[in-house]
Symmetry: C2
Subunit: 252 residues, 2 copies
DNA sequence: CACGGTATGTGGTCGGACCAGAAGTGGTGG
DNA sequence: CCACCACTTCTGGTCCGACCACATACCGTG
């Protein structure tokens, strides 16, 4: 049984601290909303310097598990929270920029995730969520809207539908994946030849998507979502060079 | 146009440093493989202390964009890399433990992602990848295998298929999502009543999945993958309490 | 030319100090 | 008794300077 154990060295103390805190989370002893002791107290508990502790806390903050506030009072100090969206967004955005994956990968991932989102939304979304999405579509349809704001609203539309599906994970993933290609999409929209026509076409699809979701026709909504996304990305590939995969030296 | 600008305060200097480095990445001036100057040189460039710079670098390291090695020579120092897997895995693992999303969310996300993976694998996978997957299935079929190792190999099977699909993003996401529920699945497997029967049933599906992929029947493979995953998770929900969503105070 | 000790440079850690800000604390005057 | 205001306290954020461990480059010695 060649299990191929990793070298695992990990002599870095801040990772040991991190591991210790993570174990508390996995064991359920640290839950969302809990507050950590002040850094000056916690560091000696772990037997490390405040700097090392701070680096561990910074990691937790980076992945959206912890927020820290200076000052005094009930809201001060380090608190366990659950905010994966920003972390995931930053992660995918940077890795997309570095070419960890290409535009085609993003396209397929979006199709997979949003098919699921629209299908689930057709079953679970309540009227309030869909009304908000409708309002977004309405604002996207205003004449004279610029690609900049259109891009912003389009993102919000897709994320809104995803979150209305009741699935926090696909919602988060959808949002992060969409965000990671936002600059690319913006540049593509700005470079499109007939902007009003493109805008109108996309909005017609948005409206139809919402109509299908409202009438609980999940499968049709999923199909149209796929067409919508593939068509959109098809425009992108025409306007941009697809980010190709380069060899890497950082194989985990 | 109520765009609702965020407060954005961000007085923390390490975030400014981070932002500056990120811009270099987005502008393509920092690419995978590039080396950063030593911390002692870089800190004064940004006009910050070494500690603040280090916290920014720690963030980049956390999201798998940078690795650092002490010592001297061509391999020392901080290098830009592309290793999103560990970062994504840790992120989803912790957030799942904190209840940012529940087991049902993971189920649906897995179905969406792996349907796409198996479908794409049927079109793009080469023989070598599938042979590796076959080998994994073979080892899972060895009599007397324990849930511990089975869980390990099952993860590797699904990740292997995902990576063979040629889509680095869905592969990474599949891996991370699967990893986030690994402890849960392990406990479920260990608690299952008739372990040999369960094992045999799952392996039969694995073998059939590979057969469908090899014969390029993507749609059927996707359907079976969905059945496979839903059945698996169905066992889980029976054995475990589904992690319910708690209210949160950390709205981004 | 081969070898081995030493100097150098890297990230990692540590301790102490100070800063800015928010809230508690207590004194003061109405 | 209450309202107001200055002061104290506590928090994370930052900075500085020093040392450690380790791997390499360097250079003297054989």
């Amino acid at each position: 049984m060649p299990v191929e154990w990793q070298p695992v060295q990990q002599s870095r103390t801040h990772e040991l601290v991190l591991q210790s805190i993570e174990e508390q989370v996995f064991a359920g002893k640290l839950r969302a909303g809990d507050r950590l002791p002040p850094e000056r107290e916690l560091a000696p508990v772990f037997g490390v310097s405040r700097s090392a502790l701070r680096e561990a806390l910074r990691v937790l903050e980076t992945i959206g598990v912890l927020v820290a506030q200076p000052g005094r009072g009930p809201d001060s100090g380090a608190r366990i929270v659950r905010n994966p969206d920003d972390a995931l967004g930053r992660l995918l955005r940077l890795h997309f920029a570095l070419g960890s994956y290409g535009l085609h990968d993003v396209l397929e991932a979006r199709v997979a995730l949003e098919r699921s989102s629209f299908s689930a939304a057709a079953h679970h979304a309540d009227a309030a969520d869909l009304d908000e999405a409708e309002e977004v579509v309405r604002r996207m349809s205003e004449p004279g809207i610029l690609p900049e704001e259109f891009n912003e609203l389009d993102t919000r539309f897709h994320v809104k539908v995803a979150s209305s599906s009741g699935n926090a994970l696909t919602s988060t993933l959808t949002s992060a994946v969409r965000e990671s290609v936002r600059p690319l999409i913006l540049r593509a929209l700005e470079a499109v030849a007939d902007w009003p026509a493109t805008r109108t076409r996309l909005n017609a699809q948005h409206a139809e998507l919402l109509r299908l979701v409202r009438s609980r026709r999940g499968e049709e909504a999923a199909d149209l979502a796929e067409v919508h996304i593939r068509g959109f990305h098809g425009t992108l590939v025409d306007e941009n060079r697809t980010g190709d995969a380069v060899e890497d030296g950082g194989g985990s």
